[in-house]
Symmetry: C2
């Protein structure tokens, strides 16, 4: 068994400054800058298994940061593994802490926000073949914000 | 949106005594007693997504416990989320700690052991449709133990 094979079997966790990192796993931009609204998010692809049909990612959100408000046909399976925050799933607002689980059903608006106190990180499982996320139109955003709790969630910047 | 839908979206983490648990997720026996050698292991199915083709499980291993030494055609994607221990993957012996990753290739002998100091827990992603694990024959076990490090690993009880 050579070194290459061994390194494929184990990827050790470490920290670089405050960030969660893994040996041999690049910390990527979350999305192309300007392509969608988000704040302080990085992306690490932990397992890419096209023959098994899934991609297992880690997203890290800095204190006060947030992922893009979006929806899509594919389902998200999520586990929080670091920090605290609040999630919008549909019109439900869910405070969360380490190891809480979320399932985002198809075509459901969702956004994950870190608390202002520190970084937040979550695992997210998605199918390898998946549709592109949709951003809300102005009308859809206005409709969402008719719910005052949702408006308060979305208006935090 | 009714309560049922909300509970499908979020499953809060909590502890029952020392054990990691999630709302609405049963803590199951690892395997039928006597069906295979193991010690102090429970299983929780966090996400069951047959239409997406994967099952996301959490396994908890008590101090000094171990999973079954086995192999199978399907790949395991693993993240340690609690405690410390040592893994055998093929003939490689890997000490591990929280958030380390493992990929177990097809038909590769593997076993995860908790340290004697405390419980260990890991996430394990597998395809929904998968072959049954194989146990080593006496000959295969003898062959594995020709490697003294592997023998020392396997002989701990």
């Amino acid at each position: 068994m050579n070194d290459t094979k061994q390194s494929e079997r184990r990827r050790a966790f470490h920290r670089e400054g405050d960030a969660f990192c893994w040996d041999g796993v690049d910390v990527l931009e979350y999305k192309e800058a300007g392509s969608a609204p988000f704040k302080s998010v990085t992306r690490s692809v932990l397992f890419e298994e096209p023959e098994l049909g899934f991609q297992w990612r880690y997203f890290e959100v800095g204190a006060g940061g947030y992922t893009t408000l979006e929806r899509h046909e594919h389902v998200h399976a999520v586990m929080i593994v670091r920090g605290r925050g609040t999630a919008l799933i549909g019109t439900g607002i869910h405070p969360f802490a380490e190891f809480d689980l979320f399932r985002v059903p198809p075509m459901t608006w969702h956004q994950f926000r870190a608390s202002d106190e520190g970084a937040m990180g979550f695992l997210c499982l998605v199918p390898s073949e998946r549709d592109r996320p949709q951003l809300p139109t102005q009308d859809e955003l206005a409709e969402l914000k008719r719910n005052p709790d949702v408006a308060a969630f979305l208006n935090r910047r």
